[in-house]
């Protein structure tokens, strides 16, 4: 192979036709209230971890919903599961359970990746 000095960039856009949207359905089965999320960001505003890092639960949740898993596990690592987010959610979304389950599912996906 020649050295081209550059690589073809990957599109930044989320492609809903190829994104893995099924994972989110699995999550929603575990946490049905996730569907109610309005993306208001109250969770992110109160977040204890967000006070120390750039952790943004709302964003992570949405990225998961969109099937964009790259780097998400590391992102979720910043959460301390303190549960404040759940207390402030105006739509009664079990945010803490969403994080917890995302963590588990992401870990499962990771294992799948390693196996394949």
């Amino acid at each position: 192979m020649k050295n081209w000095g550059f690589k073809i960039s990957r599109p930044r856009a989320i492609d809903f036709d190829t994104a893995d949207l099924a994972e989110y359905s699995k999550l929603v089965e575990k946490v049905p209230s996730a569907k109610r999320c309005l993306m208001c960001g109250a969770c992110t505003a109160t977040c204890s971890a967000g006070n120390h890092t750039d952790f943004n639960f709302r964003h992570s949740h949405l990225m998961y919903r969109r099937g964009q898993f790259e780097g998400l596990a590391e992102e979720l690592d910043k959460c301390m599961l303190c549960g404040k987010c759940k207390m402030v959610c105006p739509r009664g979304v079990n945010t803490r359970a969403i994080i917890y389950n995302m963590r588990i599912f992401l870990n499962d996906m990771n294992y799948k990746n390693i196996e394949s």
């Binding site: 989320i14 809903f16 036709d17 109610r36 993306m39 949405l62 969109r66």
Partner: protein
């Protein structure tokens, strides 16, 4: 004399007639009912539009209400404290007072060329959706059952490019309603709603919105579709920003529904212009917003309903009743 046989016109006719005055309704269509004719179910309670239309028709089925359909008024003017309306064939109708209830028209989506309405068969408007919903099926132009549908809010509203800065107020909730209806018909399909803001300010709107998410799994994406194009298999590829992830996005849908906004009807624009009561965006202008919202600067000319601004059906009916009182007072005092 009431120009317009929609909800506003009919409600006013009933209220004025019951007080012993003779009322003439001049309706440009061949049937009364106005824009409700196009609808199947109404938000937010999925009320039956046909039933409500019938209820209106029954109300005006009275001795001293004369209904003239198929009459499009091209001129409205007053002489010696009497009001005259002339149609295209120069037939003149006259009365002591006139009520402008000429309502709204849906935005012509072809003006948003980039969204492909009229260009790609699978781009339809919310009005087309209702038309299709009347058949009990929502199908693509190819006759297949859609697997993915997208609704786009604010088509023709809140859009500097088409000159409409205002919010049409009904499209958000209508999108919620139609997405819910679609999911009831095709539960396995994906439904996406693209919005700039979800404006759920009416009673039960928020609840319906919530239910559409929770029960019907309708997805809401904050972002405005800026481009639509047909794919090889006649589906529609749309592009938007998923503003809440901060990333651009694209998806292919089977049907794209454009939630067209409310615009002033041609009659509203023309008749209010003739009488110098033309307001913003072609709507008619009332004397004052708070206590004289049904009056105009011309004595004996009144306004009711969405010829003034985008209104929901209950608001239109309430406004029409208010107009009736103003007209009755006027008739009594003159």
């Amino acid at each position: 004399m009431i120009i317009g046989g929609g909800p506003a016109g009919l409600e006013a006719a009933y209220n004025i007639a019951i007080n012993g005055y003779k009322v003439t309704i001049l309706e440009k269509d061949n049937e009364i009912g106005g824009n409700i004719k196009k609808w199947v179910k109404l938000f937010p309670d999925f009320g039956d539009a046909a039933e409500i239309r019938k209820a209106f028709a029954d109300k005006v089925n009275k001795g001293n209400i004369e209904i003239q359909t198929g009459v499009e008024i091209s001129e409205l003017y007053s002489e010696n404290e009497k009001w005259f309306a002339k149609n295209g064939n120069n037939v003149i109708y006259s009365a002591d007072a006139a009520l402008l209830a000429t309502g709204f028209e849906a935005f012509d989506a072809r003006r948003k060329e980039e969204l492909g309405y009229g260009i790609y068969d699978n781009v339809i408007t919310s009005v087309d959706f209702e038309e299709m919903y009347k058949t009990g099926k929502i199908l693509t132009a190819q006759g297949t059952v859609p697997k993915r549908i997208a609704f786009l809010n604010c088509v023709g509203s809140r859009d500097e490019k088409v000159g409409n800065h205002y919010c049409s107020r009904v499209c958000c909730i209508n999108a919620v309603k139609q997405a819910t209806e679609f999911k009831e018909l095709v539960p396995d399909a994906e439904a996406y709603c693209f919005y700039m803001d979800m404006r759920m300010a009416g009673q039960f709107y928020e609840e319906l919105y919530r239910k559409s998410q929770e029960k019907y799994n309708v997805n809401y994406i904050r972002g405005r579709i800026s481009e639509a194009a047909a794919t090889f298999d006649k589906r529609i590829q749309i592009k938007s920003e998923d503003t809440l992830t901060g990333l651009p996005m694209k998806m292919t849908v089977d049907i794209l529904v454009l939630m067209v906004g409310i615009e002033s009807s041609a009659s509203t624009t023309e008749l209010s212009r003739q009488n110098g009561i033309n307001g913003e965006y072609g709507f008619a202008k009332s004397l004052g917003l708070y206590i004289s919202d049904n009056l105009t600067k011309k004595a004996g000319l009144f306004l009711a309903g969405s010829c003034k601004r985008p209104l929901t059906l209950p608001e239109t009916v309430a406004d029409s009743r208010a107009a009736s009182v103003q007209i009755l007072n006027y008739l009594k005092l003159n």
